[in-house]
């Protein structure tokens, strides 16, 4: 009797363990993030192919003041797409809904930091020579735009926490939390005050 009692207890323990781990690893992340589609399909591969012949900084350039321009405005698209190139649904949508009315495309930014974070791209890419891929991954080689995963609670993009829900990322793209910034800064011997990276 005592032995049976122990066994059922162990069984229940294991059931609890497994269910909680499944919930923690799979259900919670699925529930925590909402998936939002980008307004338009976009292929980085097509644009950087030999046919289109564009370079990264044709769109993602630095402004005259040294700031990072981010995602280009519709004016950049108009240069080539004033009239539809091809007949794909996205192409027609681009021309009809955005280019003709002169509306900006409401792109969703995967790496959006909160307002109080100051990240000077130029210092990292030009002075520290950190490749874009270290944080952004091989985004430049993608055929399609993945949906943005948005944390329902904090509103942050999942890219900030990192794709691996465990919070341990060993290969790029690395997560972009403050602790990641600090880790990297410490490794490189950059010690700063709060306001160095906060505004």
């Amino acid at each position: 009797m005592i032995l049976t009692q122990r066994r059922t207890t162990i069984l229940f323990f294991i059931i609890g363990l497994v269910v909680a781990m499944l919930a923690g690893w799979i259900a919670v992340p699925a529930a925590l993030y909402e998936s939002i589609e980008q307004p338009l399909g976009f292929s980085h591969v097509v644009h950087t192919s030999d046919d289109a012949g564009m370079e990264c900084d044709d769109c993602h350039h630095l402004t005259s003041e040294g700031g990072f321009a981010g995602i280009p405005k519709i004016a950049v698209c108009v240069d080539c797409h004033e009239e539809a190139i091809g007949t794909s649904v996205d192409e027609l949508k681009l021309v009809e809904e955005y280019i003709k009315p002169g509306r900006e495309i409401p792109w969703l930014v995967y790496a959006r930091q909160p307002d109080n974070a100051f990240f000077p791209h130029v210092r990292h890419t030009r002075l520290a020579k950190i490749p874009c891929e270290q944080c952004h991954g091989d985004h430049g080689q993608t055929e399609t735009l993945r949906p943005l995963k948005r944390n329902r609670f904090t509103g942050y993009s999942r890219d900030i926490w990192g794709n691996d829900f465990s919070g341990i990322t060993t290969s790029p793209p690395f997560s972009m939390k403050m602790s990641d910034c600090v880790d990297c800064h410490r490794k490189r011997g950059v010690r700063d005050s709060c306001l160095a990276c906060h505004k």
Binding site: L62, E65, G66, G67, D115, N116, F118, P120, V122, R123, R126, L127, G189, V190, R191, D192, S193, C194, L195, A196, H198, K199
Partner: protein
């Protein structure tokens, strides 16, 4: 390993005799730093003015009457900084590279101990939720995050401009900024050139020369806080009023 960078000591010299109390510095500062406006009917001393121009008269009659205007912002104390030690959650930070005393709004819990401790009354609390008329959030300076209700804020030498200057320097491949690339909004806005901002550690800078001059003084020097804001005046009564000298030797008081 810490990178060896020349240590800066940003500071300011304010020529009281040039200040005519127009308040452009206050407005420029508020716009630069997205300082919100408190509602109508707010009691005195509840506003948010990172730099505040005091108007002081000598209380004499015409023709001897005289008015001095003293712009007072955070004095960025260089020694025994009264606000830094008291903050329980390390929300007050001194940049070891340049001596700027900063307040981190996201870390502040709003206990206001630092305000009580500050002898210059230069710290301000957000008694209200910050509000801008509808639509004007598009007009905010993107380089400075607005503060939320319930936290303390104060002058940080227009740190957004420091960021911008660093960014500009980096885009030209420089890791250090040139002295003329970084100016505070108040110094830029002052029509009379009463405010000189720069690196006090650089002996050749305008600000260091002025600060070392015979007409310069610091507010409440006797407290030993060693502010990095210096004031200039030729008017004796202003200097006598604004500065204090220890009534007994300071050396005895620390044992």
């Amino acid at each position: 390993m810490t990178k060896t960078t020349p240590k800066k000591r940003y500071g300011m010299v304010i020529d009281i005799d040039r200040c005519d109390g127009c308040g452009a510095c206050m407005v420029a500062c508020s716009l630069e730093n997205n300082v919100s406006v408190v509602p109508a009917g707010a009691a005195p001393h509840r506003g948010l003015t990172w730099i505040r121009v005091y108007s002081v008269t000598n209380k004499k009659e015409y023709p001897d009457s005289d008015t001095a205007y003293l712009p007072v912002s955070c004095q960025h104390c260089g020694n025994e900084t009264p606000c830094v030690g008291v903050c329980p959650q390390s929300a007050v930070d001194v940049d070891p590279k340049n001596g700027i005393v900063s307040q981190i709004p996201e870390r502040c819990m709003g206990c206001r101990y630092c305000m009580v401790a500050c002898p210059y009354h230069a710290r301000y609390f957000n008694w209200w939720d910050p509000e801008w008329p509808e639509g004007t959030e598009h007009l905010l300076n993107p380089g400075v995050t607005p503060r939320m209700r319930g936290v303390v804020e104060k002058c940080n030498f227009c740190h957004g401009r420091h960021h911008a200057a660093q960014e500009r320097a980096a885009s030209e491949g420089r890791s250090e900024i040139e002295p003329n690339e970084y100016q505070t909004a108040c110094a830029e806005a002052c029509p009379n050139g009463a405010i000189t901002f720069g690196d006090l550690a650089d002996k050749n800078s305008e600000v260091a020369k002025l600060a070392a001059g015979p007409e310069s003084f610091q507010l409440l020097k006797s407290l030993g806080t060693e502010p990095k804001i210096y004031y200039l005046t030729q008017r004796g009564w202003v200097r006598d009023m604004a500065t204090r000298t220890p009534l007994i030797s300071k050396g005895q008081s620390h044992d």
